[in-house]
């Protein structure tokens, strides 16, 4: 199989994945107990009002027709209107998604800038005190809940020292960066811990690999060996890790955005739950799952580009 075929095959996989995600969200929303309509209208709604609402939402037709309708509407990006915000769901999500994506990007950049150098220090000093210290700190970081880290940073650096704003998002790019720095740092810790752990193990494995011995034996300097052989392999593994971690980062973003009052989709999710805004919850779950599957796809593509063995 050549790389072109592999690429086409991988791209084609995304279509059935999207359909499955759509079916899953639909089935979950219908199968779980709890009547959406009476939840939306409140307990005092008359049977007549409920019936009218059900007809309006198309809930009086067969489940299969509803499913096809839902999928067809989803493809057109029509998720209905938000009940609490009185706006099209797609518009609400489209306004807030960039905020969350920016937050995640900042978190990934921060996590990598923290984890990459520390992983090298730890691996090159394996089982000596710098390694022990770094691993202990990250172990504690992994055991700390995101909202707690966020609250501590918020109290010390925003409310206390006033270096950063307490919340919000700002109006231009510079302000966005400034507002998202603390939330991004909060979100980056657990991911930095995961990257550090994997990278340290990866570097240790590469350091004992035969091709590194060979590179040294042929007289390459330690710096060249580290840069060309160790770093390259470590980076491929890290790219995969970023891709696999997008879902966890989205979950962390839900909590971080709530702590820092960042107007992204995570906070929208929590607000919608408290407002029982089912169309938004359903559409958001769908959009986030699609985002994760796109991240998986992108990971595979970048891996193919970085690692000549993929797709051969």
């Amino acid at each position: 199989m050549n790389r072109g075929t592999w690429l086409l095959g991988r791209l084609a996989q995304i279509v059935p994945t999207f359909v499955m995600i759509g079916v899953a969200v639909f089935v979950l929303a219908r199968l779980l107990p709890g009547d959406q309509v009476s939840a939306m209208l409140g307990e005092r709604a008359s049977d007549d009002t409920i019936a009218r609402m059900q007809a309006q939402l198309g809930l009086d037709r067969s489940v299969f027709v509803q499913l096809l309708d839902f999928l067809a509407a989803a493809v057109r990006g029509n998720f209905g209107d938000s009940m609490s915000l009185r706006l099209p769901v797609l518009q609400v999500i489209a306004e807030r998604l960039p905020v969350t994506l920016a937050l995640m990007a900042i978190a990934v950049v921060l996590a990598l800038s923290i984890a990459l150098p520390l992983a090298f220090v730890a691996a090159l000093n394996a089982n000596r005190w710098p390694d022990m210290l770094i691993r202990t700190i990250f172990q504690i970081g992994l055991s700390s809940p995101v909202f707690y880290i966020g609250l501590l940073l918020l109290t010390v650096f925003a409310a206390g020292l006033r270096w950063f704003p307490v919340g919000g998002y700002g109006d231009d790019w510079g302000e966005h960066l400034y507002h998202l720095f603390l939330p991004g740092l909060t979100l980056s810790f657990s991911f930095a811990a995961v990257v550090m752990r994997n990278l340290r193990a990866g570097i240790l494995a590469v350091l004992t690999a035969e091709y590194v011995d060979f590179a040294r034996a042929k007289g390459l300097s330690a710096g060249v060996v580290l840069g060309r052989h160790v770093l390259r392999n470590a980076l491929i593994a890290t790219v995969t890790l970023v891709g696999l971690h997008v879902g966890a980062l989205l979950g962390g973003a839900v909590i971080t955005e709530t702590v820092f009052a960042v107007p992204g989709v995570g906070r929208l999710m929590i607000d919608s739950i408290l407002a029982r805004d089912y169309p938004v919850i359903q559409a958001l779950t769908l959009v986030l799952a699609i985002l994760v599957s796109l991240a998986f796809l992108l990971t595979d593509l970048v891996q193919m580009w970085l690692d000549p063995r993929v797709g051969r």
């Binding site: 994945t17 499955m20 995600i21 899953a24 979950l28 929303a29 779980l32 107990p33 709890g34 172990q139 504690i140 992994l142 055991s143 700390s144 809940p145 995101v146 909202f147 707690y148 609250l151 501590l152 918020l154 109290t155 409310a159 206390g160 997008v246 879902g247 966890a248 989205l250 979950g251 962390g252 839900v254 909590i255 709530t258 999710m269 929590i270 919608s272 739950i273 408290l274 919850i281 958001l284 779950t285 986030l288 799952a289 699609i290 994760v292 599957s293 998986f296």
Partner: protein, 267 residues
């Protein structure tokens, strides 16, 4: 076999938590629910080591009593997915073929949903509260257990003792439950201990968001949510329950790491 430092520290932290959860009244100096209007939002002192909250309730006593709820979260958020996922993994690993192919597609589908988002989605539909959190976590969290168990069963099914069992004419339930399960369980159980650390983080996060344990239940996440509005004026209200979460999380993850070393489980 060597007992590592992580196992010792982790075991110690877990023992502390277990004792606190079993007999909170031995350690809690005050009733966690009683208001003391003489000492509202009082800073840590000789009487109130961790200070008091805005109603004068003793934060140390509330933190100790909350360990019972959080330990329950750690156990229930793991045991139900473990049983469900373990059973699915056993069956899928044993039957293989079409069942395995369907299982593979299902796993591919579930992993595209961010774990926390899916749990929150379930809680949104079912309504907030701890019981619904357990239901949600079971529906979402069985996947890693099923994958682990399936992989173990595939290995064990190749072994001579399974072939011997078949030759002796044992039926599937006997071979799977009496012979394969005890041999396949070890990595799954080690993973479960580490997973309890994540369960504590998840449970307290949902409590913090108002979706998990409901006030006035003392749960660490709920305590922090209560204290967050006073973080600048009375930081002790949220600070100490947070330390409890970190210590409990460390306890489970260090114990998990130590057990993995001790039992030579590859991860």
């Amino acid at each position: 076999m060597r007992v590592s430092l992580s196992l010792l520290i982790g075991g110690f932290l877990l023992a502390l938590m277990l004792i606190a959860a079993a007999v909170p009244d031995w350690f809690a100096p005050f009733d966690p629910l009683v208001f003391d209007f003489e000492a509202l939002s009082a800073p840590p002192s000789g009487d109130h080591w961790f200070g008091t909250d805005q109603f004068g309730r003793d934060v140390l006593s509330r933190t100790i009593h909350a360990s019972r709820i959080d330990l329950q979260i750690a156990v229930f958020c793991v045991i139900f997915p473990l049983v469900l996922g373990g059973a699915i993994g056993l069956l899928v690993g044993w039957y293989g073929g079409v069942v395995d192919a369907i299982f593979g597609r299902l796993v591919d589908l579930v992993v595209t949903f961010p774990f926390l988002v899916l749990v929150i989605f379930f809680v949104a539909v079912l309504g907030p509260g701890l019981v619904n959190v357990y239901i949600a976590v079971t529906c979402v969290g069985w996947v890693p257990y099923a994958k682990l168990m399936r992989a173990e069963v595939l290995v064990q099914a190749q072994s001579d003792y399974v072939a011997a069992g078949r030759v002796l004419g044992y039926r599937m339930p006997r071979i799977v439950l009496r012979h394969i399960l005890p041999n396949a369980a070890r990595p799954v159980l080690v993973y479960a201990v580490t997973d309890m650390a994540l369960a504590i983080l998840l449970g307290s996060s949902l409590g913090y968001l108002g979706l998990g344990a409901q006030p006035p239940t003392a749960e660490w996440g709920v305590l922090i949510a209560d204290g967050k509005n006073f973080f600048t004026t009375a930081p002790w209200m949220a600070l100490f329950p947070g330390v409890a979460i970190v210590l409990a999380g460390l306890g489970f993850s260090l114990t998990g790491d130590g057990l993995a070393d001790l039992l030579a489980v590859k991860r």
